[in-house]
């Protein structure tokens, strides 16, 4: 059997020179515009201003920076948990047989996904800002006299990011639930399990790979999120990405920005590599 499989895989392959010719532009582009610059940025963090680990010592000893990193982890974790709680039922609804509900759910999940994060962050400002829709409505209704302070808080960042990242939680779970054979819940019911038991003992365990992939994706994306914290957050909700940008553009301390980038990169890439088996990015891009 193995012979046949390998033989089939070899048949009709392109020759090595042709293959290299076809892949060369792709590799060259990514190497020069992507990996080389990032490599250089990370390198400056240990070579400048002097070849030492000073930048990292600074990052890990200043309470301000430690607080930013801790806050980033907390917000990313909060986003993941809330996206999971909100996303699982929606994924379950989307994976159901039938026409109306699954279609409606899919539209409500995909339309925000295709809308840029910038536009969605802007919409949140319009909703919860001092003169935003919610405050105006409450004042018009006479329920409050002074506008509520909702924007530029951690809560605003959390809500905005959860909203933007929610589709990335729903889609992997949906994909896992959809690949669940419809016969399994039926078999469980036939064997006497009620709906709750069927869910807890059959559906939930089998959808865990999707849950795991969704959580990982949301957590990793949340760690490095820039736009939403920059627009919805205030000075008290500084996150890693915003700190990097501040160090680079305001303090003009590129080596230190490089050091923070290295830490962020280690976290996101490390998590992704460690759990790459569960993370099927192609499923998220090529959602059906």
């Amino acid at each position: 059997m193995t012979t046949t499989g390998r033989a089939t895989a070899f048949r009709g392959q392109l020759s090595l020179p042709l293959t290299l010719l076809l892949i060369a532009p792709l590799v060259a582009l990514l190497a020069w515009t992507f990996f080389l610059p990032i490599g250089r940025l990370l390198l400056t963090s240990v070579t400048e201003p002097t070849p030492s680990l000073d930048n990292y010592r600074r990052l890990l000893t200043e309470p301000l920076h430690l607080r930013v990193m801790l806050r980033t982890l907390l917000i990313a974790f909060g986003c993941t948990v809330s996206a999971l709680l909100l996303g699982y039922p929606v994924a379950a609804l989307m994976a159901r047989p039938g026409r109306f509900w699954p279609k409606l759910t899919a539209i409500c999940v995909l339309v925000p996904l295709w809308t840029s994060a910038l536009v969605r962050s802007y919409a949140w400002i319009a909703l919860i800002g001092r003169r935003g829709v919610i405050n105006t409505a409450l004042i018009d209704a006479g329920l409050i006299a002074q506008p509520l302070n909702m924007l530029y808080t951690s809560a605003a960042v959390l809500v905005g990011m959860t909203h933007i990242l929610l589709p990335f939680m729903v889609l992997p779970i949906f994909s896992a639930l959809l690949s669940l054979p419809a016969d399994l819940p039926r078999a469980a019911a036939n064997l006497g399990a009620g709906r709750v038991r069927t869910f807890l003992t059959i559906v939930l365990p089998l959808s865990l790979p999707g849950v795991f992939a969704g959580c990982l994706l949301v957590f990793v994306m949340a760690l490095g999120f820039y736009i939403t914290p920059a627009l919805l957050g205030g000075p008290r909700t500084l996150m890693i990405a915003t700190l990097i940008s501040q160090q680079a553009t305001e303090a003009l301390d590129w080596p230190f920005a490089g050091a923070i980038s290295t830490v962020l990169l280690l976290m996101s890439v490390g998590l992704t590599v460690a759990f790459r088996r569960v993370l099927r990015l192609d499923r998220v891009v090529a959602h059906d």
Partner: protein, 265 residues
């Protein structure tokens, strides 16, 4: 009412709330863009195209939009050419280290954009590439090409290799096989990849923010600045136009991808 149907209705109600949460911001910008007022009331006191007019007659908005469209179009062409060639090599080629290349291809999707933005700025600035169309197209292509490769190589993998073998056997050259057999069959995926690449470039905010110049800035940079400094309903008008255009493009891409799939049921 049985307990089962109460549970079912509770479940649906909860889902409905989440769906409203998901759609709310997207749905709110359209009425806002039609508001005659400077501030955002809901429901709007009346309807007006004032902000659309303001958008269309503001040279800075139009310049930024045209620049973004130009970058996105060039990015799309470059990503499709480079990405399709790369997919063919990855799926049909004799490639040492294929898995490493596949893993590296995903990096632009995982590495936080802020890191890319700063790194690319440092690389481009000394070369005078910041604020130039070449610079934008280079980095946007690097960021968009993984989408093309994911979609096109999935389509290539679905294509039985025996079709190309049959083409060769019947006397066609490699190139003819690709042109007459492979390309027509993966065309929908290539089109979908093109749409993804176009949108990835047009929507790209963080890197564009950092490498924009005073002369050439993308519409996302313009929007970002305006949201920070001068929150006006023109942004809502622009956003609404972009959302509608995006949804239309995605519907085309998805319909085309669906058409390419073998009928399952």
């Amino acid at each position: 009412m049985t307990s089962r149907s109460i549970g079912e209705w509770a479940f649906r109600a909860a889902c409905l709330l989440v769906l409203v949460f998901l759609m709310l911001p997207t749905l709110i910008i359209a009425p806002m863009s039609l508001s005659p007022d400077n501030y955002l009331h809901f429901p709007p006191p009346g309807l007006s195209l004032r902000w659309y007019r303001a958008f269309l007659f503001a040279p800075d908005w139009i310049d930024a939009t045209l620049f973004s469209l130009q970058v996105a179009a060039l990015t799309m062409v470059a990503s499709v050419l480079i990405g399709t060639a790369g997919s063919v090599a990855l799926v049909r080629g004799r490639l040492p280290g294929r898995q490493a290349i596949e893993a590296l291809l995903l990096a632009p999707l995982i590495i936080p954009p802020i890191i890319v933005a700063i790194a690319v700025y440092l690389q481009f600035a000394p070369l005078g590439l910041t604020g130039t169309i070449t610079g934008f197209v280079l980095i946007h292509t690097a960021l968009a090409v993984p989408y093309v490769v994911l979609v096109v190589s999935a389509a290539l993998q679905r294509l039985p290799p025996s079709l190309e073998l049959a083409g060769l056997n019947l006397g066609a050259s490699r190139l003819t096989c690709f042109r007459r057999i492979v390309l027509p069959l993966i065309a929908p995926a290539v089109l979908a990849g093109a749409v993804f690449a176009f949108l990835a470039s047009f929507d790209e905010t963080v890197v564009s923010f950092f490498i924009s110049g005073t002369e050439h800035k993308t519409v996302t940079r313009k929007m970002f600045e305006d949201i920070e400094f001068n929150l006006s309903p023109v942004i809502a008008a622009a956003s609404t136009l972009f959302v509608v255009a995006t949804i239309a493009l995605m519907v085309v891409a998805n319909a085309s991808r669906m058409a390419s799939k073998p009928q399952k049921n």
